[in-house]
Amino acid sequence: MQCYLELSNVGIEFNTNNVPFKALSNVNLKVNKGDFVSLIGHSGCGKSTILNIIAGLHQATEGGVILEGRQVDSPNPDRAVVFQNHALLPWLTVYENVELAVKQVFKGRRPASEVKGWVEHNLDLVSMTHAKDKLPHEISGGMKQRVGIARGLSMEPKVLLMDEPFGALDALTRAHLQDELMRIHSSLNNTVIMITHDVDEAVLLSDKIVMLTVGPEASIGELLEVNLERPRDRLALADDTAYIGYRNDVLRFLYGGTH
C-alpha cells in the first residue's frame, strides 16, 4: 500500500568549508493522511534538517521524500512551514502577512475576491481577528506564533510542518496554543509534522512520536504510536495510566543512556 508521505533512506551531508558532515542517514518514515506526527530528539540531532528536507528547503543527498506519489524536490505551499521564531515580515500587519501567502496560493486557483474572506477566516481560527491591523512588534510572542500558524493553515497545505512552534513561549501560553492546535487539527484533519523537545507536548498532541538518535548520522531510533482517545484533555490525561506509560517510553528513550 502506498502511503501519503514517505521518507525513504533519507540522508544528508553538509559541506562546510570543505569539511563534510553527515547529519542524517537512513531516515525512513511513513505518514498517513491526517496524522499528527511529532519529531523529538536532543538538540542538534537533525530534527530541523528533516523538516527542511520535507519542506524542500534542503536537498537530501541520499534517498528522497515522496508526497502523494510524487517526489519532493523544491519548496511549495502544499508543504507549509511554521517557523520556530514565527518569521513574520515585520513591516507587514498581521492581516498582510497572511494575505501575502494567500494571494500567492490562490493565484490561478481561486478568485481574488475570496482572498479577504479566507485571510479573515484563518485569523479567526487562531483567534487573532482582533489584532489583524497590528504590526508583529506590537503583539506578544504567543500571538505572533498564532499568526504564523494561521499563515501556514491558510495555504491549505497537504502537510503542515512546524519547527518547535511553541518552544519560545511560556508554559501557560503554550498549553493554550496546544489546545487550540488540537481543536484545529480535529476540525480540519490536516496532516501535521511537528518538532518538539517537550515530552508532554509530544504525547498530548501526537498520533505518532518519532524519536531520533543523537547525531551525527542521526536516524530514527524508535517510533511510538499514541493510541489515546480524542479529543484529549490535559487534566484528565494527567492521571491516565496509558498516557503516563507513553510519557515514560519517550523519557526512557531520551534519557535512558543508550542513545
Partner: protein, 333 residues
C-alpha cells in the same frame, strides 16, 4: 561663566547632578538645548580669543564678529546684484518698447543678465550639483547593490572592481572626467553646463561606493527565515525584492546613502576649487586669490555655510528615512 552654569543648574530638576537618564522628555530636551547652546558659546569664545592672536598676511584671522559682518556684506552684495538685474531687465524692456514704437517690425529680444555670481548663486549651484550627482549615483548604486546582494556570482565578478575603485579619490578622476566631458558632451543648456556635468559626475564617482556596498550588505543579510518564507510561498522574483529584500535592506541602504551624500558634498567643494567650476568651492578660491582684508572672513562664512548645509542634507535624509522605514520605533541618528 560660573554664574551662568549655576543658573542653569538651578532651573533643572535634579539640581546637583547632571543625570541624563532621568527626567521627563521635555526637561531632557531642554537640557540638551542648553548643553548645545553652552557648547556653541564656549566655542565662539575660544574662537574669538584664538583669532585675535593669529595674524596672517591678509590681516588678523577673522573672529566671530568679523565673520558676522561679512555675512551682512555678502547679503548686501546679493541684494545689490539682484537690484542691478532688475534694472537691467527694466532698461531692456523700455528700450524694446521705444524701438517697437518707431519700427513695428523690430525683433524684440530680452538678453539674460550676466552679472557676477553672488554667494547665494554659488550656494545654489553647489546644491544643484551635489543633488544631481548624488541622484545619478543612487539610481546606479541601489539596483546594482540589489543585484550583487542577490547573486553571488555577479558579486564575485564586481567586488574586485569595487575594492579597487572605492579608495580612489575622485579628485584623481577630475582631469579625466573634465577631458571626457568636454570631448563628448555638447549642450547649450544654461543649467547643464560642461562645468556642472563635470562636477556632478565627480560627485557621483565618489558617492557611488557607500550606497553600493551598504545595499549589497543589506540585501545579503536578510533574515534566512524570511527568505525561506518567500521560497515556501513561491514568491516571484519581483515580489521577493519589493516585499522582502527591500524593506529589510532599507536601513542599510539609507546608512549608505547618507555616507554617500556626505562624501559627495565634501568632494564637490574640493572639485569646484580645483577645476574652477562654479559653486561654493570656486567662491572660496576666488576670495583666496582676491586677497583683500575681507577675504578670510568671507571664506569663513563659506566654511560655516558648507557645514550647515552638510548638516541639513543629512537631516533631510534622516527625515526621508523615517518616512520610508517600516520600523517607526527605531532610533535613528
Amino acid at each position: 561663566m560660573e554664574a551662568i552654569l549655576n543658573k542653569i543648574r538651578l532651573t533643572l530638576p535634579s539640581a546637583n547632578s547632571f543625570d541624563f537618564a532621568s527626567g521627563s522628555a521635555i526637561t531632557k530636551m531642554f537640557r540638551s538645548w542648553i548643553l548645545a547652546g553652552t557648547g556653541i558659546l564656549v566655542f565662539l569664545f575660544m574662537w574669538h580669543v584664538a583669532a585675535s592672536n593669529i595674524n596672517t598676511s591678509l590681516g588678523q584671522f577673522p573672529g566671530p564678529t568679523q565673520v558676522w559682518e561679512q555675512v551682512g556684506s555678502l547679503k548686501a552684495d546679493y541684494q545689490r546684484e539682484k537690484q542691478r538685474e532688475r534694472d537691467f531687465m527694466v532698461r531692456q524692456q523700455e528700450r524694446n518698447a521705444e524701438r517697437l514704437a518707431v519700427d513695428p517690425d523690430y525683433d524684440a529680444r530680452i538678453r539674460p543678465y550676466t552679472g557676477r555670481p553672488t554667494f547665494v548663486d554659488q550656494v545654489q549651484t553647489s546644491l544643484l550639483t551635489v543633488g544631481f550627482g548624488f541622484f545619478i549615483a543612487t539610481i546606479i548604486a541601489i539596483p546594482l547593490g540589489i543585484i550583487c546582494g542577490l547573486n553571488s556570482s555577479i558579486y564575485s565578478a564586481i567586488n574586485p572592481l569595487i575594492q579597487v575603485f572605492k579608495p580612489v579619490s575622485p579628485l584623481a578622476w577630475l582631469p579625466l572626467v573634465t577631458m571626457v566631458v568636454s570631448a563628448l558632451y555638447v549642450s547649450d543648456s544654461e543649467v547643464f553646463t560642461k562645468a556642472f556635468v563635470t562636477s556632478a559626475i565627480t560627485v557621483s564617482l565618489c558617492s557611488l561606493w557607500p550606497t553600493l556596498i551598504n545595499t549589497t550588505v543589506g540585501v545579503t543579510s536578510v533574515d534566512k527565515d524570511l527568505i525561506n518564507v518567500s521560497r515556501v510561498i513561491q514568491l516571484p522574483a519581483h515580489l521577493h525584492v519589493t516585499k522582502i529584500v527591500l524593506p529589510s535592506a532599507v536601513p542599510m541602504i539609507f546608512t549608505g546613502m547618507r555616507m554617500s551624500l556626505a562624501t559627495g558634498w565634501m568632494v564637490l567643494i574640493a572639485a569646484e576649487m580645483l577645476a574652477q567650476n562654479p559653486g561654493l568651492g570656486k567662491f572660496i578660491w576666488d576670495e583666496f586669490q582676491n586677497g583683500s582684508s575681507d577675504s578670510l572672513g568671507r571664506i569663513m562664512v563659506a566654511v560655516i555655510a558648507i557645514g550647515l548645509i552638510g548638516f541639513a542634507l543629512d537631516k533631510i535624509m534622516l527625515l526621508i528615512q523615517r518616512k520610508v522605514s517600516w520600523d517607526k520605533t527605531a532610533v535613528l541618528r
